[in-house]
Amino acid sequence: MSYWYELLNQLPLDFLQFDFMKNALLSVILVTPLFALLGCMVINNQLTFFSDAIGHSALTGIAIGTLCGLTDPLWAMALFACVLTLVVCLLRQYSSASTDTIVGLVMAFAVALGVVILSRGGGFIKYSRYLIGDILTITPGEIFRLCVLLALVLLLWLTLYNQLFLASMNRSLARSRGINVWPVELVFSMAVALTVTLSIQWVGLLVINSMLILPAAAARNMARNAVQYTWFAVLFGLLSGLAGLVSSYYWDTAAGATIVLYAMACYLVSLILRRS
């Protein structure tokens, strides 16, 4: 971390004089490409509603964590998100209902449960920071956690990307090429769930799904093939992340939401520039 601080001290940018901004900058640089990568595949798999549901049900994870008396409900959140993902994947495999219906059902249940537990005795307000998120409070230890997560997703992207890609187009086709579709999809869904859960207190529950989807959606308008798709998404994610963080410093606004506004701007520009 000290190298990072040293490096940034060389830059003549006044918002970088505070350590919390340096931390926030690093985490934005880690989180936005991570979200962009996953977002591409989330859209390919038509799982945007799923990632949204996972974000919302983080509330339930927090609730369960507090019930168990944990001060940091993170691991309860992560565990709950994984269980939820498993349930959704199982239902998707073995039930005849559509994925959207299944996700909708599971999410409604999870969110209701979470709100009921957290609102007991009128204490809901102290959890509202999860709704908006605050990237400025991130600590070096938590940044390290994000690094590990990014490394894991990159590993997944290096090993299973092609299989996921084919499975997202047609499961039978993927199967005919020797891909075990179900486990691959489960691993991917888990990665999305963990990423959303681990980032939620920095980004905010209300806007986290937009941060996942918008860079990829903008890239879809611009890209002519899957290679460009991935890299455009990463570029848009990084650009809106940096612009959003800096703007939030000067405007004194929530960083997550500001980043999403920039991502939305990227999307609109891409819509205008869209090549037919």
Binding site: W157, S172, R177, R220, A226
Partner: protein, 295 residues
């Protein structure tokens, strides 16, 4: 046209009369018995068409053969006399459709790279993959589509691309699930021209799901009428004129069966299909030219 050295046969080096057998094949999903007692026998180089009502289990049969849904019974790939098994056959599959929307940023080359290469697609696609894809596409008259987006292809073009994809590596059994539904006449002709050439050059045994009885009558060596189990199985004219098929397909089937005695293609307005018939008649190696009269 692909040179024979491109022919990467997985199980058998040289075809000396191999066949695909489904023995007592059955599929149960939940409480519903979708398929039961399926006994099917298809020689290499033979095109077997599967017809039947929606919900009759046609696609499920394919999914079970691919191992996507669990099944009872066996899929055997053996020497024609049944004595020698060749091992696990390589199955090529051409799906009915892909999950694509208009903005889907996936090119034909991407599809091939993801399917053939081990290198993750987002790190770029190598020259080797490009050449391999082009070679496969040329087998289906689609090499000019290499850089196109899948979402911008016509139905017919997309099906030819998917067919080409199913040919790398060259399969032993090719499953076509309503490959030309929604394709225009010229596209259908092009598609079946490729299929016929494959049968002739590579001795692939082909299973085709279709709803178009007149098309089936022209291209198939054998027709199977499937509704949860096999209700009719035989030469095209035989099956198309059988009572159960006529009933299931209503008047259309009746007419198709009456008209279909296949050689009378001059009656048909569509000369493309006549051309196909010619090729596929030639291609049929198992001595069962479907132009002849049924016993």
């Amino acid at each position: 046209m692909a040179a024979p050295e491109n022919n990467a046969k997985s199980v058998r080096k040289d075809c000396t009369g191999c066949c695909t057998r489904l023995a007592d094949f059955g599929v149960k999903l939940g409480d519903a018995q979708i398929l039961s007692g399926i006994n099917l026998h298809s020689h290499c180089g033979e095109l077997t068409a599967i017809i039947g009502p929606n919900g009759g289990g046609k696609t499920t049969l394919f999914r079970a053969m691919l191992g996507e849904v669990p099944h009872a019974g066996e899929l055997l790939f053996t020497h024609a006399d049944g004595a020698k098994a060749f091992g696990v056959p390589r199955i090529g599959y051409v799906p009915q459709k892909l999950e694509l929307d208009r903005t889907s940023p996936i090119s034909v080359l991407d599809l091939f790279a993801a399917a053939i290469s081990r290198r993750p697609l987002w790190l770029g696609r190598g020259l080797r993959i490009r050449n391999e894809a082009r070679k496969a596409l040329s087998m289906a008259e689609a090499e000019q589509l290499l850089e196109n987006k899948l979402a911008h292809l016509s139905c017919g073009q997309l099906q030819r691309v998917l067919l080409a994809l199913a040919l790398v590596p060259m399969p032993d059994i090719l499953l076509l699930d309503e490959p030309v539904a929604g394709v225009d006449r010229a596209g259908i002709a092009m598609f079946y021209r490729t299929v016929s050439r494959l049968r002739r050059d590579y001795d692939i045994s082909i299973l085709l799901i279709s709803h178009d009885l007149s098309e089936v009558a022209l291209v198939a060596d054998r027709i199977v009428f499937l509704n949860h189990t096999i209700l009719a199985n035989g030469m095209p004219q035989e099956v198309l004129s059988s009572a159960c098929v006529r009933e299931a397909f209503g008047m259309d089937a009746f007419l198709a069966a009456k008209e279909a005695p296949v050689p009378r293609t001059e009656d048909r307005t569509n000369h493309h299909l006549a051309a196909i018939l010619h090729v596929s008649g030639e291609a049929c190696k198992c001595g069962k030219k479907h132009g002849g009269n049924a016993e």
